[in-house]
Symmetry: C2
Subunit: 211 residues, 2 copies
DNA sequence: TGTTGAATCGACACAGTGTCGAATAATTTC
DNA sequence: GAAATTATTCGACACTGTGTCGATTCAACA
């Protein structure tokens, strides 16, 4: 049960159970656009997928497990994004940071409901907490490493605060802003404003740049 | 029903109902140290207060209403704290900002469970959302005003970003860090580290200071 | 002391959860 | 391709919790 995902457009035969699981996941993702996870009843998930309520428990252990599976659809994008953090060639820091932040914002725009539910479930579900702390650590580690490199090169403002401590604050700040941004109606202008503001805070905090 | 609080140590006669309401609130505050609001069942609240479950609904409309009442116990402290933001005499910005941030941190240390529950319920309950957005606006307004003053005086880095936009990000950042800090075991060292880091980010973002 | 409103209670109807064993569909094995 | 095995589905059940009602008790006071 619960195989790793087959290549997206594959014509490998999919067992009936896989189809049902997918239908449940699709329904969940759709419902999360409207309600929070604990407002969604199991029979809303299953009637959306055309099966009876008790069948749900054959496919998933709990509502949180659905969310966990849903999160994995997004996780690669998140990881790709984290990787962008490290890489900085000869371009100025501002471009590199803005690009990374803009990437995160658009990722939240695309998957807001799932990401918000995951953040909320962090406090509730052990499974989701573990998942999310892995994601966060990856971002924080990348950032801290990068800060240290820039400090060693004499480009960034030296500590204190610790590179890691600074990285933690900045990454959390991004998450919080993306969360609340994804709650508001999509607006390119507003998105740009948030990206600009976050970029400015990052630049000034790390490099001490004052233009 | 639901009178404004009587002066704390008052010997005005308190009706029996008031005592029961208080008992419910006390129980709720105690339980919130362990569980989240929606993990707390109504009969845990009432058995803690020595009354039957249905009596609860005579005193409060819902669990959220209890949280709202609980929040009001904390709100003055929160508002006092916001007031500190504006006032800055001849002392250097660093002292003023550090003092304000340290105040917020210790407030979250004192009332962490209630404040965390309120933040979480923001997404769920209209009542709590309104309450909290009022608190947030107060902080943001104070901060934005102060930033503008400092910019006009030529001390702070000019925009963009807008004073208000910058203030929003910085205040949210503080809230997020206080939330997660209040989840960890109390540690003076850790508290100081967080205060230092937040202070550094505020200073660099607003004043561009790089020491 | 009798009237009134505040406070409490138990009983009820309702929503949703998670588990079980039996029934059915799909796949494998011989 | 029939039998055996495994995957999937279902309805029924026992539970836990919610919110509402009308009946009852309590306390104040005219």
């Amino acid at each position: 049960m619960m195989f790793a995902m087959s290549p997206t457009g594959s014509r490998r035969k999919r067992s009936k159970g896989d189809l049902t699981s997918q239908a449940i996941l699709d329904t969940a993702e759709r419902l999360l656009e409207t309600k929070s996870l604990d407002e969604i009843a199991v029979d809303e998930l299953t009637s959306g997928a055309g099966i009876s309520r008790s069948t749900f428990y054959f496919h998933f252990e709990s509502r949180e497990a659905v969310l966990y599976a849903l999160s994995e659809r997004v996780v690669e994008g998140l990881y790709d994004n984290a990787a962008l953090w490290l890489r900085r060639g000869s371009e100025p820091p501002e471009d590199s940071i803005r690009r990374a932040i803009a990437g995160t914002v658009s990722l939240w725009r695309a998957h807001g409901p799932v990401l918000r539910a995951a953040v909320r479930a962090r406090d509730t579900s052990e499974l989701v907490r573990g998942f999310w702390s892995g994601v966060a650590r990856r971002f924080i580690d990348s950032t801290a490493t990068q800060i240290e490199i820039e400090r060693d090169a004499g480009v960034a403002v030296p500590g204190p605060p610790t590179a890691r401590s600074l990285a933690t604050v900045l990454v959390s700040m991004n998450e919080t802003m993306c969360y609340s941004l994804s709650l508001s109606r999509k607006s390119a202008a507003r998105d740009r404003e948030v990206v600009d503001t976050l970029t400015a805070v990052w630049l000034r905090s790390v490099y001490g740049v004052s233009r």
